[in-house]
């Protein structure tokens, strides 16, 4: 997964990546060259007392150092650019993929998860690329280079490399390997602590009302202790790494001195070579250690990459037609013929054998208990989902054969949850029609009974709307959402339980004002209450995904038992009063 993602998205950056490798190669070689030069200073300068040699070699070392920093800095430049561009591209890829998603895929992943994948997950992988470019590339070069150089200094001591490198890899590796599951467990435990705190904040009144502070403290205490226990375990492993590494490095250096001394004494090795060998061994071990450390990052990045690929590999279940049907005049007629809708993995369809026609100038109401499939039914018209059986036709054309833009242009949707975008009142209303002038906006606000409060807001139409519309009350949000649909002047209005947050007087005024405005259009209203829809031209009663009745209020009262039940339940509510 990780490799695949990297391969796909790093392909355009082959050249800078090659540059990174080349630059790191030069930089590493330069830093590997320094101990050799130092050995020369000792053997040819210090021992012979040749100060001139010391100075010229010193100057040469400085030059090498300059080359090294130049190359490292350039490698960082290309590395950072590539890694960040990689992140940008993956984000863009994800974002546009999600843009194509239908409501089904959105529901499958869930918006919060998609947001995390699009931001945090990408960042994890991006950092891995960055670290690889700046450090991980140089680790193997350093390791191999160090070994070659060390062997060039003295072959006789090479067995020290053979012993110390695996010792380091095995000891650090085994600690790191044990740490990974602890870290994973810690994440879960941390979620647990946060969940309890979250619940406490949300339910503070209930908590106090039920005098459950002590129980809550206990619940929290358990989660807290769990987290601490895991954190302690992870921490105890972590604190092992540093002393272990320190010990292995130091033990290796002592061994080099001891065994090296023997070889120096017998003249098999020069003293300068001894110290150079020591330094190379250290460089080798450091690079091995760094690589091991970086290895901790990989499992996490791999999980992120998997989550990213999951999204990228998901194709929308609602695709635009390959060859769109010719545009037909927009009238707004809706027809469902024997529609079935089944969510993936669900045992029973949410909708079955649903057939009806909704005509322009008429109001079609959909009623039924929660979970009867009302919202799903409405969602089929703008193709938020595609029916799994039968067909949905708008103006006589199957919606699946229609140019999506043409379809959407016909529809004004007011969803159950009145969602507003960050911006201003005007920018939200112009979601309906970017070209609408202020008069048109005010007109829509008038109908939606929103003029008063918009006028009272500082800036009027230009008043800011915070994210999700959180600076407005539920009723105000709902009225703006209705106005937004009105600005669009569509042929089809879909109101999905859109009047629930309005007080009675406002609701009555709004619907009175709405009537003339929607006279020519097809209106579909989803509602809970009989009284809302009693005067609709056509009422569709849904029960467990089936059409249990279809007709006017009076017809249904006479013929449809489900409708009678609903009416009775509402009457008895009134009766109970």
């Amino acid at each position: 997964m990780l490799i695949g993602l990297l391969r796909t998205y790093l392909r355009p950056y082959k050249q800078p990546l090659l540059a990174v490798v080349a630059l790191q190669l030069v930089a590493t070689m330069a830093s590997l060259y320094l101990p050799s030069l130092n050995a020369h200073i000792i053997d040819n300068g210090v021992i012979t007392g040749d100060t001139g040699y010391i100075l010229t070699t010193g100057a040469w070392m400085l030059l090498v150092t300059l080359v090294q920093i130049g190359c490292s800095a350039s490698a960082v430049y290309f590395g950072a650019r590539t890694a960040m561009a990689f992140g940008r591209d993956v984000r863009a890829g994800l974002f546009s993929r999600v843009g194509e998603f239908s409501a089904r895929e959105m529901a499958h992943f869930g918006a919060p998860s998609l947001i995390t994948r699009n931001t945090n997950d990408v960042q994890q992988v991006q950092m891995l690329v960055m670290m690889t470019c700046t450090m991980m590339v140089s680790a193997p070069i350093m390791c191999v280079g160090g070994i070659i150089m060390a062997l060039r200094q003295d072959l006789g001591l090479s067995w020290l490399v053979v012993v110390s490198v695996p010792a380091l890899v095995i000891s650090v590796g085994s600690i790191v390997r044990r740490m990974v599951p602890q870290f994973r467990a810690m994440q879960t435990r941390l979620d647990g602590v946060n969940r309890v705190l979250r619940e406490q904040l949300m339910g503070i009144r209930v908590m106090r009302a039920f005098v459950s502070e002590r129980e809550e403290t206990r619940r929290f205490g358990v989660a807290n202790a769990d987290l601490t226990a895991t954190a302690l375990r992870a921490g105890r492993l972590m604190v092992l790494i540093f002393p272990t590494v320190m010990l292995i490095l130091n033990a290796s250096s002592l061994a080099v001195l001891w065994f090296g001394a023997g070889r120096v004494d017998t003249g098999q090795m020069q003293i300068g070579s001894l110290t150079a060998f020591l330094m190379y061994l250290m460089q080798i071990l450091m690079s091995v250690m760094m690589a091991t450390f970086m290895a901790i990052m990989i499992p996490r990045a791999a999980v992120c990459a998997e989550r990213i690929r999951d999204v990228l590999d998901t194709r929308s279940s609602v695709l635009p037609p390959i060859a769109a049907a010719a545009d037909v005049p927009a009238v707004g007629e809706i027809e469902f013929t024997d529609v079935e809708m089944r969510y993936p993995g669900a045992a029973t369809p949410v909708l079955r054998e649903v057939s009806f026609r909704a005509l322009p100038g008429q109001t079609t109401a959909v009623i039924g208990s929660t979970g009867a499939g009302k919202t799903t039914l409405v969602s089929l018209v703008p193709r938020l989902f595609d029916a799994t059986g039968g067909a949905v036709l708008v103006d006589g054309v199957d919606v699946r054969d229609m140019e999506p833009e043409a379809l959407w242009r016909r529809i004004g949707l007011v969803p159950q949850k009145a969602f507003l975008f960050t911006g201003t009142v005007a920018s939200n209303l112009r979601y309906g029609d970017p070209d609408a002038d202020d008069d048109a906006l005010w007109e829509a606000l008038d109908v939606a009974q929103a003029r008063d409060f918009v006028e009272a807001m500082p800036g009027g139409l230009e008043a800011p709307i915070t994210q999700g519309g959180s600076n407005l009350s539920g009723g105000q949000r709902q009225r703006l959402a209705i106005a937004r649909a009105l600005v669009r002047r569509p042929q089809i209005y879909l109101f999905d339980d859109s009047f629930s947050a309005l007080d009675l007087a406002t609701d009555a005024r709004l619907r009175a004002a709405l009537a003339p405005r929607t006279r020519e259009a097809t209106v579909v209203i989803v509602a809970q209450r009989v009284s809302t829809i009693a005067d609709a031209d056509q009422i569709i009663v849904l029960e467990d995904g089936l059409v249990a009745g279809k007709g006017t209020h009076d017809e249904l009262l006479a013929t449809c038992p489900t409708y009678q039940e609903i009416v009775e339940s509402q009457l008895s509510l009134q009766e109970a009063a």
């Binding site: 800095a73 430049y77 959105m106 931001t119």
Partner: protein, 673 residues
């Protein structure tokens, strides 16, 4: 020259081992060190001190950590000096072997001087050479064995220190978390009204998490780094003051370079995080409003905005990563510069005999150990700042004013009838906006008192006052003749059962949720409560029955069913006083009927306050209070009020003349008033 490494392994500047925990939507990720959102503590020092003070319960262990750290660093720092001795012995052996045996060192030096090699003479005199003798392996092994012992001790002490410190940090964080949780229970509700929930949540989760990370990542390293700097400095001066001066030049240089880079990268990081935030906001909005974006055909615009922000983030983060990425090569450069200087100057000094080769080698090591902790401290500065900023936010929470403590000698009503009386009660959320003014009323035992009125009239406030969620500004409220402020809150509230507008269930089984507030309830009692409130019916149809887990999505339980569970909960707690804040906005009418029936069962023989949005539900109340703007404008029974043709009559007519609408206009949070 040799460089056994004794200081911390060169940690990449911004790659601490992967953060074990990722709080918050943007976790810190492996950006760790340098990549923090630039939040600066307003008062760094006091907060940092306070954070350190929180370690005080672990005093003993902290002292042990300090002692162990000093020991481990001292041993580690002494190491190179010993290795230097070893090199000297080898070097002396090499020189000695070249000289003929039987002469003294002085003779050899004189001979060299006579031959015109003055500096070799000095070298010989300076290095303890015995002419004709090779390497003294006996001496070498002694030195190396000492070094083994020293390094072993350093590692063991370092491990013990880390182990203890880990315990100290984890326990400190554990205490901090539970202190915060305790505090939540002592804060007045007013506090929660003022604080946006997301913000508060972030304090108790993300900020504490950040503090924990910071303590963990910095404490150990900071301690070792600082001690190492001191120790190394001492050793360097001891070996050669001249070389120490040469090496010390690198300190201001590295500090200067690091601060210059950090200053710039800090700004760029701010830009990076600001852009991240902007992009995050855009993505969140686009995904949350996905169906609207689709149906309103705005995908293209949304995509364009995304691309602009994505590009801005790319530019900002590239800048930040590049500039901060320069720290490592720069420090490496300074380190190498230092290395070259010491090699050259040291080589010259050895050649003139004023310094031993081993000392120069030791010196090179020391100078490496010197620049490295400096780099680490520099890279930790940001992390530390951000951690202290978080600590400060947590401390603010801990310092927030608490609710009045319960009376020392609490009273308790002798008879539990459930008679509630308001005597000239005045209350306001905001000092300048009186909400309830001189309100008096009596709810006799067993009565149902309904409160109706428009949004914002103060209906919910009234019951909040009975629960003593808020303190009165004037007058008093009594329960069975006892002033509620004279009772312990716990005693007061345990007599009251409450069903709220929002159906709050916690993540646990249905059984646990019903038994919430009555932890001693038996299985039979739970079932009885569930049956009386129509919960039993649907629970039985669930595959796991009462063991069904309620999760945050709670897709297995509908809103109406949730509401029924909260009613069962109130039923089980057997209160003498009931408060029902109607919540049926998204419940279909057939479920609502059940809810209504369950609530009637609950109300029987109990004094109850019913807040009603819909008048149909309260027609048979014993007393109906019509509230407007914090005052009771009318009171009486349904029929009396209808006959009076006043506010209630008008309200009633709008509801029953027009369509029966689902009026779910919830009262806004008190803070918004």
């Amino acid at each position: 020259m040799s460089t056994p490494v004794t200081a911390a392994p060169a940690r990449p500047v911004h790659a601490p081992p992967p953060r074990p925990a990722g709080g918050g939507p943007f976790g810190r990720g492996p950006m760790g060190g340098m990549g923090m959102p630039a939040e600066k503590a307003m008062t760094f020092k006091p907060s940092a001190k306070r954070l350190l003070r929180r370690l005080s319960p672990e005093r003993g262990r902290v002292a042990a950590v300090l002692v162990l750290a000093v020991l481990s660093v001292s041993f580690a720092v002494a190491g190179p000096k010993l290795l230097g001795r070893a090199t000297d012995i080898i070097f002396a052996g090499v020189l000695g072997r070249r000289l003929p045996a039987g002469i003294t060192t002085q003779q050899a030096a004189d001979a060299a001087r006579a031959a015109g090699h003055g500096n070799i003479a000095d070298l010989l005199l300076g290095s303890g050479v015995v002419p004709g003798k090779g390497i003294d392996f006996g001496a070498l092994s002694t030195v190396l064995l000492w070094a083994v012992a020293l390094y072993l001790a350093a590692s063991v002490f370092s491990w013990l220190q880390g182990y203890l410190l880990n315990d100290v940090v984890q326990h400190t964080v554990l205490r901090l978390r539970s202190d915060v949780e305790d505090k939540l229970h002592r804060l007045p509700l007013r506090y929660f009204d003022r604080q946006p929930r997301g913000e508060l949540l972030s304090r108790v989760t993300n900020d504490i998490d950040n503090v924990s990370q910071t303590l963990q990542q910095t404490m150990s390293q900071l301690l070792t780094s600082l001690l190492t700097v001191v120790g190394v400095l001492v050793m360097m001066v001891v070996i050669s003051p001249l070389l120490a001066v040469v090496a010390l030049v690198s300190i201001p240089l590295s500090v200067f370079v690091t601060t210059q880079i950090a200053k710039r990268s800090q700004k760029l990081f701010v830009a990076q995080w600001a852009n991240t935030g902007k992009l995050n906001a855009h993505i969140e909005e686009a995904f949350t409003g996905h169906e609207l974006v689709t149906v309103f055909g705005r995908q293209r615009e949304v995509q364009q905005q995304f691309e602009a922000r994505n590009e801005a983030l790319y530019k900002a983060s590239f800048g930040a990563q590049f500039v901060s990425g320069l720290i490592m090569p720069s420090m490496m450069f300074i380190g190498n510069l230092n290395y070259v200087l010491i090699a050259v100057v040291g080589g010259l000094r050895v050649a003139t005999g004023s310094l031993s080769l081993g000392d120069v080698q030791a010196f090179i090591q020391y100078s490496r150990q010197f620049t490295q902790p400096l780099t680490q401290v520099a890279s930790m500065a940001n992390l530390l700042q951000s951690g202290v900023a978080s600590a400060e936010r947590v401390f603010q929470l801990l310092d927030a004013e608490e609710q009045e403590p319960d009376p020392a000698e609490p009273e308790f009503p002798t008879d539990r009838h459930g008679r509630v009386e308001f005597e000239h009660v005045s209350f306001r959320y905001e000092p300048d906006q009186p909400l309830i003014d001189d309100l008096s009323l009596v709810a006799e035992p067993g009565q149902t008192v309904a409160i109706v009125g428009p949004t914002g009239a103060g209906k919910t406030t009234l019951v909040n006052l009975v629960m003593r969620f808020y303190e009165l500004d004037g007058g008093r409220i009594t329960l069975d003749g006892v002033d509620i402020t004279a009772m312990r809150r716990e005693d007061l509230r345990s007599q009251i059962g409450m069903v709220l507008q929002d159906t709050w269930l916690f993540g646990g089984t249905i059984r646990d949720n019903i038994a919430y507030g009555s932890p001693d309830a038996t299985e039979e009692q739970i079932h009885a409560a569930a049956e009386a409130t129509f919960v039993d019916r649907f629970v039985r149809s669930l595959p796991d029955g009462y063991d069904t887990l309620i999760n945050e999505e709670a897709s297995n339980v509908s809103v109406g069913e949730k509401q029924l569970i909260t009613i069962a909960r109130a039923f089980l707690s057997e209160p003498s006083l009931l408060i029902l804040d109607e919540a049926t906005s998204s419940v279909d009418t057939r479920t609502e009927l059940l809810v209504q029936r369950a609530m009637s069962a609950l109300r029987a023989d109990r004094t109850s306050f019913v807040i009603a949005h819909r008048l149909s539900t309260i027609r048979d109340a014993d007393l109906i209070l019509v509230m407007e703007a914090g005052r009771i404008v009318e009171s009486g029974t349904h029929d009396e009020l209808l006959d009076a043709r006043g506010a209630y009559y008008r309200l009633y007519n709008t509801q029953f003349r027009g369509p029966v609408q689902n009026d779910a206009d919830q009262e806004p949070a008190p803070a918004a008033r």
